[in-house]
Symmetry: C2
Amino acid sequence: MELSPDWVVGFVDGEGCFHVSVNKHPEMSVGYQVLPEFVVVQHERDLQVLYALKRFFACGVVRKNNGDRWCLRIRKLSCLEKVCEFFTKHPLKTKKNVDFIKFRRIVQWMKEGKHLSSEGLLDIVETALQMNTQNRERLLQVKRDLEAVVRYSPPSGESQR
Amino acid sequence: MELSPDWVVGFVDGEGCFHVSVNKHPEMSVGYQVLPEFVVVQHERDLQVLYALKRFFACGVVRKNNGDRWCLRIRKLSCLEKVCEFFTKHPLKTKKNVDFIKFRRIVQWMKEGKHLSSEGLLDIVETALQMNTQNRERLLQVKRDLEAVVRYSPPSGESQR
């Protein structure tokens, strides 16, 4: 199945999701891991579309999601940069583009290592909170934790280990 | 907002719906009205996409659907023919194309007046039942009613009034 850029934009406008989660992770310098991901979920009858998208981006993993739903998931930072380049060159037409722009900013910040300091991570969490997200409560909790840390520590965030 | 054919195909692969309902209607010759429709539903934040699709097909009505959901609905037979021409020239890539092909057959049959006889309507209902439909029970009931009529009447169906 050959996909054209415009088809991919239209399909992702409908079915794609840019998602950022922040999970506790004691081995990370600030105690949290930032996990941006681009996901497309489909019923198993359209599994071949997920594989075509995987080939299109030359990135990602297709796996079972839930029941008869499957998903293409792109998490690798270098792959997400490719995805961001694509949707910068071929912009989404729905309001999903607003989410995408915030997602791209977070991917860029991660490339710059901003997620490795508490202040930087706080910026990431605040940006993720502006996205259309289902894990608002969790992000708000992380935000409160980080605000407490940032408030009572040197600006560099070096002492957060 | 300018839409390209490929974007429209991708978006409809994700968000479009080809739907056929059959409702009791005493004024119709066989007692039922066939209502094929092409529908795209969106959150109100993407209302402008629905209007762009309406301009693209130069057809349809945009109206509130449910809560914060809006829809573009195309029902007029001449408009549905245009929609079918478009998706014949620019095929859908998901399994929705299987539904579309059945939908197109029903639109063509209606153009030929096949829905005006019980036998023809039975063919339409049986084809609609092969589609990914949410009103299966209702269609099955209509099918049983029509089968009883067709079984006990002349083949032409002329006596069904």
